[in-house]
């Protein structure tokens, strides 16, 4: 949990998507996504079902053919162009990925799943994962395919913690989990976010409320709103308008209020028009 929140201008950019377009089997799925992820903390990527969140994340990894510019700035300030690189090269630059459906290797044991994720020169050890998820330690020799959905998600997130990354792309980690497990997963992610930037796709707004600093809303293949997460969630009307949902009551009120008490911010690097516009299907592509 970040308790002191630097302002947007102070935090350097780690991931920048500019005018990203993705076409899949004939449909124009991303229609010019502009997205800035700043170093430190959690940036939430929100949007209705089918808005293009997963596709945005995949475009960063080169898992879908993308046009446009995607750049990663590492801790030393070097800028790497990600577009056109192969997936494994992107990942080795320090981009961790936990996909929407977890995608653990069901035929491998938990320990093997973790060993596979450990990249060469990694400073971390699977013990770090077992510390965070003691449940996995007992089951380290169990086939991941026989784990429960929640345990599989622990493996998927555990994989991210074995290497030094610049940014983690985490796609709906709490999907289909029981409330207690949602809290546990969110806890671990929050701890991870103390060390590394996280771009979090999440439908569970109470999780977003608890950990996200910034938020971006995708609709119809475009980013239609960016700003402070707490500002967005404080405005029930706008949340409903953008996400098609009512803000749910936060899981843990005292905590969420104390941690994200700041007022909403509009990013100065984005024109106000874009940051405030409603879903804009009428903008022809």
């Amino acid at each position: 949990m970040s308790t002191t929140e630097p302002t947007a201008a102070q935090r350097p950019v780690v991931l920048q998507l500019t005018d990203v377009h993705v076409r899949l089997s004939g449909s124009h799925i991303l229609q010019g996504v502009d997205l800035t992820v700043r170093r430190g903390g959690v940036t939430a990527l929100l949007g209705r079902n089918g808005a293009g969140k997963t596709t945005t994340v995949k475009s960063v990894l080169g898992l879908v053919p993308a046009a446009g510019t995607i750049e990663l700035t590492d801790a030393a300030g070097r800028v790497h162009r990600l577009t056109g690189r192969r997936t494994h090269e992107v990942v080795r630059l320090g981009v961790g990925y936990a996909p929407e459906d977890r995608e653990v290797f069901g035929g491998l044991t938990v320990a093997e799943n973790l060993a596979l994720a450990e990249r060469r020169g990694s400073a971390h050890h699977p013990d770090r994962v077992y510390e965070l998820f003691p449940e996995l330690q007992q089951r380290s020799r169990q086939l991941a395919g026989t784990l429960s959905g929640g345990q599989q998600q622990m493996v998927a997130i555990g994989r991210l913690l074995l290497n030094d990354n610049q940014v983690l792309l985490v796609d709906e980690p709490t999907k289909g989990l029981a409330p207690l497990l949602v809290t546990e997963v969110a806890e671990v992610l929050a701890r991870a976010a103390e060390e590394v930037t996280v771009l979090l796709v999440e439908q569970n707004l109470s999780v977003v409320r608890r950990m996200a600093i910034d938020a971006a809303v995708v609709d119809n293949g475009r980013v239609v709103w960016t700003g402070s997460a707490s500002e967005l969630l404080a405005d029930a009307d706008r949340t409903r308008e953008l996400l098609g949902v009512a803000t749910s009551a936060p899981l843990d009120e005292s905590r969420s209020h104390s941690s994200s008490g700041a007022e909403g911010r509009t990013r100065e690097d984005l024109p106000a028009r874009r940051s405030r516009s409603a879903p804009a299907p009428e903008v022809g592509g």
């Binding site: 192969r86 996909p99 290797f105």
Partner: protein
């Protein structure tokens, strides 16, 4: 009794040959999704490489260690050709499975034709070490030694592959890749290196099968690889397409069925029963005997 022993050992020898060809095929299919029609050509290349080395390579010959050297040469050539094919022709067509299959089809035609152009279409007598020509008495049957050579080699290969898959990092990558290639790359692993390795290893096994098949049959001809390939395909499908242990079991099943039926019914019936076996397995268990890699 002695007939049954002889039939069983011969059937297992045949199974060993099938396994050597099919194990590479199933690894390649499992990991890369490529049905490799050029595999038969790798076998032919290995067989002719061994045959050529036995006659021309200094130190190599048809007896004892000099024969082993000839086989090593043939296997090396087969491995190199397979690796080259993967790097030059399969890799550029990454993830375009139909085109990859088509390229292997073209290669299988071209490579076999090239061998035919160089060494002729007729069968050539293959060097057979003296030991392989003798027989060993087993439970009252006089079993030709080459059967044991085949079976022993296949068992060694099976164990080696299982060790590779289960206890090395590249084996881990291969097993994971068979399950979900894309996620392997999303962990920062260049899965194409595993592709090349699997192709080369598969080529090596096929070439080994070519050499040992030459010993077993006493002669080699350019078309041999292709006809063996069809039965190897059947073994791969029965074994579950991407499983090594499944392939081994299927190879034994196919080899034994073929031998017994050819002997007790009529020549040719064995081959037909294998096809029948394939149909039965596919209709009752559409995913083959096993669906796990190792």
């Amino acid at each position: 009794m002695s007939t049954i022993v002889l039939l069983t050992v011969t059937g297992l020898g045949l199974a060993a040959l099938y396994f050597l060809v099919a194990s590479g095929l199933s690894l390649i299919f499992g990991l890369m999704g490529v049905l490799n029609f050029a595999h038969g050509a790798f076998l032919t290349v290995g067989a002719y490489g061994t045959w050529w080395a036995a006659g021309h390579l200094p130190g190599a010959g048809s007896t004892g260690w000099s024969f082993v050297l000839a086989v090593v040469f043939g296997v090396a050539v087969g491995t190199a050709v397979a690796a080259l094919v993967e790097l030059a022709l399969i890799r550029p067509l990454y993830e375009r499975h139909i085109e990859q299959v088509l390229v292997t089809v073209g290669l299988s035609l071209a490579m076999v034709a090239l061998v035919r152009a160089i060494w002729g279409a007729d069968a050539r007598p293959f060097p057979r070490p003296e030991w392989a020509q003798r027989t060993t008495s087993l439970l009252g049957a006089n079993v030709p030694n080459d059967r044991f050579l085949l079976i022993g080699t296949a068992v060694v290969v099976l164990v080696a592959v299982l060790v590779l898959l289960r206890s090395t990092r590249i084996g881990l990558v291969i097993r994971a890749g068979v399950e979900n290639r894309t996620m392997v790359t999303a962990l920062g692993i260049d899965v194409r290196k595993a592709f090349t390795l699997v192709f080369a290893v598969g080529g090596a096994f096929a070439a080994l099968a070519g050499s040992l098949g030459g010993v077993y049959l006493g002669s080699i001809s350019p078309g041999q690889g292709t006809s063996l390939l069809i039965f190897a395909f059947i073994v791969v499908v029965i074994g579950g397409m991407s499983s090594i242990t499944g392939t081994a079991v299927a190879a034994v099943l196919v080899g034994l069925v073929q031998q017994y039926a050819n002997y007790y019914a009529a020549s040719g019936v064995g081959d037909l029963s294998v096809v029948l076996l394939l149909a039965v397995v596919l209709l009752t268990r559409p995913s083959g005997l096993s669906a796990k890699v190792a």
